[in-house]
């Protein structure tokens, strides 16, 4: 009803050109209340995206953008509930790994016919970006980035441990055994941990193990839906990490905030975290009050046979119901997406990888801080395998991995339990 009224109002006002079309926008990334409208100077995911949204709100005639809550923890639960309640936001961000779940049910609008008219050039998208938003031949969103796990490195510690190449880049391990060696060198030289990451809360540990399995050419389940977690590859991947815990070269009990804090405080040589914090850490390193001073970014090193690091994409989608029932708001929503698409370079400032060829090839992009240090990541980026209930699968893995490193559950038990449960989820 609201939409019908607004549509009528818009039709009436379109004549005078003074329409005020409200577009509600759902996103995570956290809140940034004083982001302003300058898209070129904001720092950090939350403030950069909010500045782009604020700019869209200010610059797009006749469109106001209403940003819905930015809570991370409940985001997908709330989006599901919103769809089920019949009132999803007009546009919302999501990960590519959720596309099968939402598009599979017909929740998302198929956009391919309308993108060009809205000023979004699909041919400018990198092939992998187009792939990320495609499902069964249709386009169900506008991609915004590729993001992947990186190694964030404190060069001061690496230098003390003698782990620096002549060109100033860090020497990173090429095998699990070497990883342990390097960790010992750091410990001997500085007394600090080699590696920090959130092993205790968010699924960063899962992403680590996934990467290490992929590096052995294995996956957590096959395309025909058979769980393959209780495997040699998984055992290798897990022991690669647990050996660090056993020797005291890493602390499994740190959560996201604590591991980040440890890294910024100069208490760990390496932090495994995503592309989304590069600009934030760079800014922190420039602050003389922060212990971390010589910050370097590196591609996730290859410890096994082939390069691989966990990756995903953020993308923007529009509900199918909006396209069907409310063409005016749908058109406005597309204009907002076009605006976000136009500001791909600003979003890339977070550290994320851009999705548009024209941006990827630009000097501005190449000139972003630390960008050249992880140029290889795009080539080794690997997606989580598509599954309709990936959220639940990831939860199982996170729980069982935590059981291994936090509560001393045996690796064999944890992996076989995880395989059973993931198989249940795959069988639906």
């Amino acid at each position: 009803m609201k939409h019908v009224l607004m549509g009528t109002a818009l039709a009436a006002m379109a004549v005078t050109g003074a329409a005020a079309q409200e577009v509600s926008l759902g996103r995570f990334f956290g809140a940034c209340e004083d982001a302003g409208t300058d898209t070129t100077t904001s720092t950090g995911e939350a403030c950069i995206i909010q500045s782009i949204i604020n700019a869209a709100d200010a610059e797009l005639d006749g469109i106001t953008v209403n940003t819905l809550p930015t809570d991370w923890g409940n985001y997908y639960d709330q989006i599901v509930a919103a769809y089920a309640g019949g009132e999803p936001p007009d546009i919302h961000v999501m990960h590519r790994h959720r596309v099968p779940q939402f598009a599979g049910l017909g929740a998302l609008a198929e956009l391919s016919g309308d993108l060009e008219a809205a000023g979004i050039d699909v041919s400018d998208w990198a092939p992998a970006a187009l792939d990320a938003v495609s499902h069964n031949g249709g386009i169900y969103g506008v991609p915004m980035d590729f993001h992947a796990n990186l190694w964030h490195v404190n060069m001061e510690i690496m230098e003390a441990a003698g782990l620096v190449n002549d060109d100033g880049s860090p020497i990173l391990p090429t095998s699990p055994a070497e990883l342990l060696e390097h960790a010992a060198m750091v410990e001997d030289a500085t007394g600090h941990d080699y590696l920090a990451a959130d092993f205790a809360q968010f699924p960063i540990g899962v992403r680590l193990v996934l990467s290490l399995m992929w590096q052995q050419g294995e996956n957590i389940f096959t395309e025909d839906g058979t769980a393959t977690i209780d495997s040699e590859a998984a055992r290798n991947a897990v022991t690669t990490i647990t050996q660090l815990f056993d020797e005291g070269y890493a602390d499994p009990q740190l959560n996201y905030a604590d591991s980040q804090q440890a890294f910024l405080n100069g208490e760990a040589a390496v932090l495994v975290n995503g592309t989304w914090v590069v600009d934030f850490y760079a800014a922190e390193a420039a602050n003389s009050d922060v212990a971390l001073s010589d910050y370097h970014v590196a591609d996730f090193p290859t410890l096994f046979d082939e390069g691989a690091t966990w990756a995903d994409s953020h993308m923007w989608a529009i509900p199918a119901s909006l396209k069907r029932d409310d063409p005016e708001t749908y058109a406005a929503a597309l204009r907002v997406l076009a605006f976000i698409n136009d500001h791909n370079i600003d979003w890339a400032r977070t550290g994320h990888m851009a999705v548009r060829n024209s941006v990827l090839g630009s000097e501005a992009y190449a000139g972003l801080p630390h960008r050249d240090e992880y140029a290889g990541t795009a080539a080794i980026a690997r997606d989580t395998p598509a599954a309709e209930n990936y959220g639940a699968i990831q939860d199982v893995l996170n729980r069982e991995l935590q059981a291994i490193w936090l509560t001393g559950k045996s690796i064999d038990d944890a992996l076989s339990d995880a395989e059973l449960e993931v198989q249940d989820l795959l069988d639906g």
Binding site: F29, G30, D34, A46, N66, T67, P69, D71, A81, E87
Partner: protein, 278 residues
């Protein structure tokens, strides 16, 4: 009366009382410290309990841009609405069940008693689908109505009315006063202490309720403060500083705390009055 053991007691209790306050003091203190300092250490002065270095920036920012005031208003509307609603249905039904004789009384009482066993969290899923079908989500009444259906208030009031001596009522009956008038003019004024207890319980419940608003309220203009804060805190490590988050916590709490402090004297008096009712 005020002998030495009394002073001992007060002194002995002051220590746990202070410990009890520490988390709150800490929140307030952190909210007055600069974010970049907090990012490094939270214990600059006296374990962070004294806000030095001091800044009011967090509050300036909050009032400049935040949605906190709106969320607070929503919480107040929902909590007050729920309190009034619960009081209205509980006093009426409680009186009828305590004092009036009518057919099916026992069955209705048993029905309500059974309802006492139904935890709200056991019905939030069907409530969710029901409100979705009605298109009621994102509204104040969606946040208020489900709690009004919980029979605990009815039982509280019923037990209270039962304890009131029957002579007052009987005298009024002899004078020809109708049942509804007795309820309104005699029973309700007597029930003030019990109503106050029920009101406080309900208000606090409404203020603290998290699960149902989490499921039902989706648009930020219908967020309660509880919900709004949850959305801020889940990401504090990445976006806003610790000081800002704590400042929103303080802003969210301050009005209720003040309200409570003003209110409390009356609450205590009401309870004492209830105690001497005979």
């Amino acid at each position: 009366m005020l002998n030495r053991s009394y002073y001992w007691l007060i002194t002995a209790l002051s220590i746990p009382a202070f410990l009890w306050l520490i988390p709150t003091i800490w929140m307030v203190s952190l909210s007055f410290q600069p974010n970049d300092v907090l990012a490094r250490t939270t214990s600059t002065t006296a374990f962070g309990l004294i806000p030095i270095p001091f800044t009011a920036d967090n509050y300036v920012a909050l009032f400049g841009f935040g949605q906190t005031p709106l969320w607070f208003l929503n919480s107040a509307i929902v909590a007050l609405g729920m309190t009034l609603g619960v009081l209205a249905v509980s006093t009426t039904a409680g009186y009828a069940l305590a004092r009036l004789e009518f057919p099916l009384k026992r069955s209705i009482m048993v029905l309500c008693l059974v309802g006492l066993m139904v935890p709200e969290q056991a019905v939030f899923i069907p409530l969710y689908t029901m409100f979705a079908d009605l298109g009621w989500h994102n509204s104040y009444h969606a946040l208020i109505l489900p709690r009004m259906a919980v029979p605990i208030g009815v039982f509280l009031m019923m037990q209270f009315f039962r304890a009131i001596p029957k002579d007052i009522e009987e005298a009024a009956r002899i004078d020809g006063v109708g049942w509804l008038q007795i309820f309104w003019y005699i029973m309700l004024p007597l029930a003030r202490p019990a109503m106050m207890t029920l009101a406080i319980l309900t208000f606090l419940y409404a203020w603290n309720d998290y699960l149902w608003p989490l499921v039902s309220a989706r648009e930020p203009d219908r967020f309660t403060i509880t919900l709004g804060l949850a959305s801020i805190q889940s990401n504090f490590a990445q976006s806003e500083g610790l000081g800002r988050v704590m400042a929103s916590g303080v802003i969210a709490s301050l009005p209720v705390v003040i309200l409570f402090l003003m209110f409390q004297r009356y609450v205590v008096r009401a309870m004492t009055a209830g105690g001497t009712k005979g």
